[in-house]
């Protein structure tokens, strides 16, 4: 045991004023932002030191990268599953005199043509599954060809060989249906997953402090609002960093797989996604923290936070379902919980005017102010009440 003395700082001076001055050398009164920052710092460091967090973030980033790379490869090869393999019989000619193989070959890399000696050999290849279809001469259609397949008509081959009328679109959509769906999924998933993960993290962290009762020590030092602000700040920084990392990785992936055109088109949408996400997350985090403050055990987080989860989940599904419905998307792009997903999509599709994301952001900011005002009331009034779940009405009234 050392002979270190525990000395009360600044005691023994003449009265409280002298005591305060003497202690001032060792410590100073923290301002609320300073306190909040120390809390935020702890939240961040705790997460970064947690193996579970590091691993799950790494998996998320890998999934994003894999999605972009696979998407890139698929779009380069022109369809899922690579080129369609067909067999043709050497010497067969179509109605117009050109070889069927040559005709398909001219359609690009979508078909891989194997020439065989006769029809029997071609059929054998189809049966063995070595090719998707065989094309032979004959048949009484104008094309003068017969397509042989195993169990279902090969749509792409038939389409390639059919005589199609000329198509003129008066108002062509610049982006494809499939791509729109993928982008809706992409924005939606990133917002949904990140909001859920970090929303749960902040909820657990609130309940941990309540359950272990350290909150009483913390509240003897800083105010409940400062504590709440620090928690939201710390987790928002983490969530936003994760999203920025995911977006950066996605951009790099797009460049690497030659999708730089897509990246260029997505640019504005990506920036707005980042901005709206940052504020949207603050909203979600505030609600998660407030609802978690109502309970005292980790097991109860699920039930108490399910309304907040619904608020995040329902817009996510609405967007996935209505991704090609401009009216629904327009409404969703102003709803605070779906704005981070819907507004960037509309920007990408060219459906939103330049001022629309700004208005959406303003709506989001107003909802944050309201949510944090109510949320901090709930938090302040319930954080010291352990035991049974605190009723929401009591928490708001105080």
């Amino acid at each position: 045991m050392s002979d270190t003395q525990i000395r009360p700082a600044g005691v023994g001076g003449a009265g409280g004023a002298a005591g305060g001055a003497a202690g001032g050398a060792a410590q100073r009164q923290l301002s609320a932002p300073q306190g909040a920052w120390i809390v935020a710092e702890r939240e961040i460091m705790t997460r970064l030191r947690s193996k579970a967090f590091v691993i799950s973030t790494a998996i998320l980033l890998l999934v994003v990268l894999a999605g972009v790379v696979i998407g890139g490869l698929v779009s380069q090869s022109g369809g899922f599953g690579g080129p369609t393999k067909v067999a043709t019989v050497a010497g067969d000619v179509a109605g117009d005199g050109t070889g069927a193989g040559a005709q398909l070959g001219a359609l690009g890399e979508a078909f891989e043509v194997t020439e065989v000696a006769d029809r029997a050999a071609a059929e054998q290849l189809v049966r063995d599954g070595d090719v998707d279809a065989a094309i032979v001469a004959g048949g009484d259609t104008a094309v003068g060809l017969t397509v042989i397949a195993n169990d279902s008509p090969p749509g792409d081959v038939i389409q390639a060989l059919s005589a199609a009328p000329a198509i003129e679109l008066l108002d062509p959509s610049e982006t494809s249906f499939m791509l729109g769906y993928l982008i809706a999924m992409g924005f939606g998933m990133v917002f949904y997953m990140t909001a859920m993960t970090f929303g749960m993290t902040i909820a657990q962290s609130v309940v941990e402090e309540k359950q272990t009762r350290i909150v009483e020590i913390l509240l003897a030092t800083i105010s409940a609002r400062t504590l709440l602000a620090g928690k939201i700040l710390g987790n928002s920084i983490l969530a936003l960093s994760t999203v920025v990392a995911a977006l950066a990785l996605a951009s790099v992936g797009m460049l690497a797989t030659g999708q730089d055109i897509l990246l260029g088109e997505l640019g504005t949408a990506l920036i707005w996604f980042g901005i709206l996400f940052a504020f949207g997350f603050v909203l979600v985090a505030g609600l998660y923290a407030a609802s978690a403050a109502l309970v005292s055990r980790q097991e109860d987080i699920g039930s108490v936070s399910s309304p907040v989860m619904m608020l995040v989940m329902i817009p996510f599904f609405l967007i996935i379902i209505f991704f090609d419905n401009p009216q629904v998307l327009a409404i969703m792009s102003y709803v605070p919980f779906s704005a981070p997903t819907a507004m960037p999509m509309r920007l990408y599709f060219g459906d939103a005017a330049w001022w629309e994301p700004i208005v959406s952001l303003a709506v989001l900011l107003v909802s944050i102010v309201v949510a944090l005002w109510i949320g901090s009331r709930i938090y302040e009034n319930s954080i010291m009440r352990t035991g049974a779940r605190v009723k929401l009405s009591e928490a708001i009234k105080g």
Partner: protein, 299 residues
């Protein structure tokens, strides 16, 4: 000196504290005793600003206590709590910084405390990996890390093994010896009796007694006397016949009685001395133990 004056607090329509007033003097250990639910924890929470009072005020050296003052108090809540998965040293540094210390100063202070409390080797371990007794020591360290100007400890000795009690006791006494006010609650009356300079007794939300330990004892000594007679056939039954005396306990040559006046008690003694068959072995006023005072004032 911390002064609590006229504090009342209700939860719903239940009045938990009713006009509570007492003082905690610098350089003295003040024990705060009361049954479970008497209002100790609520009083301490209000003192720390964790709860607000419906009425009343808390002052430090004559001026009303501010948030800045309170941030410099050391507090150990009744329900212990630190982060289970955080290293002991890290959380002490964190708490020190929240109290306004620089990281360096917080680290120095935390390390000193851990050495003092015999926890230095466990500084890097998570709290949950410590034994319960060591967790308690870490909890004490958490209350002291920011070099507080006053200490408020709710049941600091509950759950401590005898060795840890001595260690913690030493730390607290050093602390008080440096002039800071120390208030701690306990339901272990023997510990309070041994340690405290001053005692405050609370019951049913009201202050029932307060003062220095010796003062309280003298105040509650009353006129109870014990007479012990020696001899084979010693029988103190005659005391009952004496005027101005009521016997509360009688057992052969032993009698405990309450006297209306000092003179009545002296008369009993004189009579006892005169009796030829027996000798007086002892005659003394009864000084109540804290437990007895507690029983008496709580009723």
């Amino acid at each position: 000196m911390i002064e609590i004056s006229g504090i009342s607090r209700s939860f719903g329509d239940r009045l938990v504290l009713d006009d509570v007033s007492f003082g905690v003097e610098g350089g003295r250990m003040t024990g705060f005793v009361g049954a479970n639910g008497a209002g100790k924890t609520t009083t301490m929470r209000i003192l720390l600003g964790v709860l607000s009072a419906d009425r009343g005020a808390v002052s430090l050296d004559g001026t009303e206590l501010t948030a800045a003052d309170r941030a410099r108090f050391g507090y150990m809540p009744e329900e212990r709590g630190l982060y289970p998965k955080m290293a002991v040293l890290d959380q002490l540094v964190y708490l020190g910084r929240l109290h306004g210390m620089s990281t360096g100063a917080a680290r120095t202070s935390a390390n000193e405390l851990l050495v003092r409390l015999g926890l230095a080797e466990r500084a890097g371990d998570t709290l949950e990996s410590l034994s319960l007794g060591n967790q308690q020591r870490a909890q004490i360290a958490a209350a002291l890390v920011h070099e507080p100007i006053a200490l408020v400890l709710d049941e600091p000795f509950s759950g401590l093994d005898p060795m840890a009690v001595e260690v913690v006791l030493g730390v607290l006494q050093d602390f008080a010896a440096n002039g800071a006010p120390v208030l701690f609650s306990s339901h272990q009356l023997d510990i309070v009796e041994r340690l405290c300079d001053d005692v405050v007794v609370i019951g049913g939300g009201k202050i029932r007694a307060q003062g220095s330990r010796e003062g309280l004892r003298a105040e509650h000594a009353g006129r109870v006397f014990e007479l012990d007679l020696a001899g084979a056939a010693a029988d103190a039954g005659w005391v009952r016949e004496q005027p101005g005396v009521s016997v509360t306990h009688l057992d052969g040559g032993f009698a405990r009685f309450e006297a209306d006046s000092e003179a009545a008690a002296q008369a009993v003694l004189a009579l006892a001395v005169q009796q030829e068959s027996t000798a007086v072995r002892s005659f003394a006023p009864v000084t109540p133990s804290l437990a007895q005072i507690f029983q008496e004032v709580i009723r």
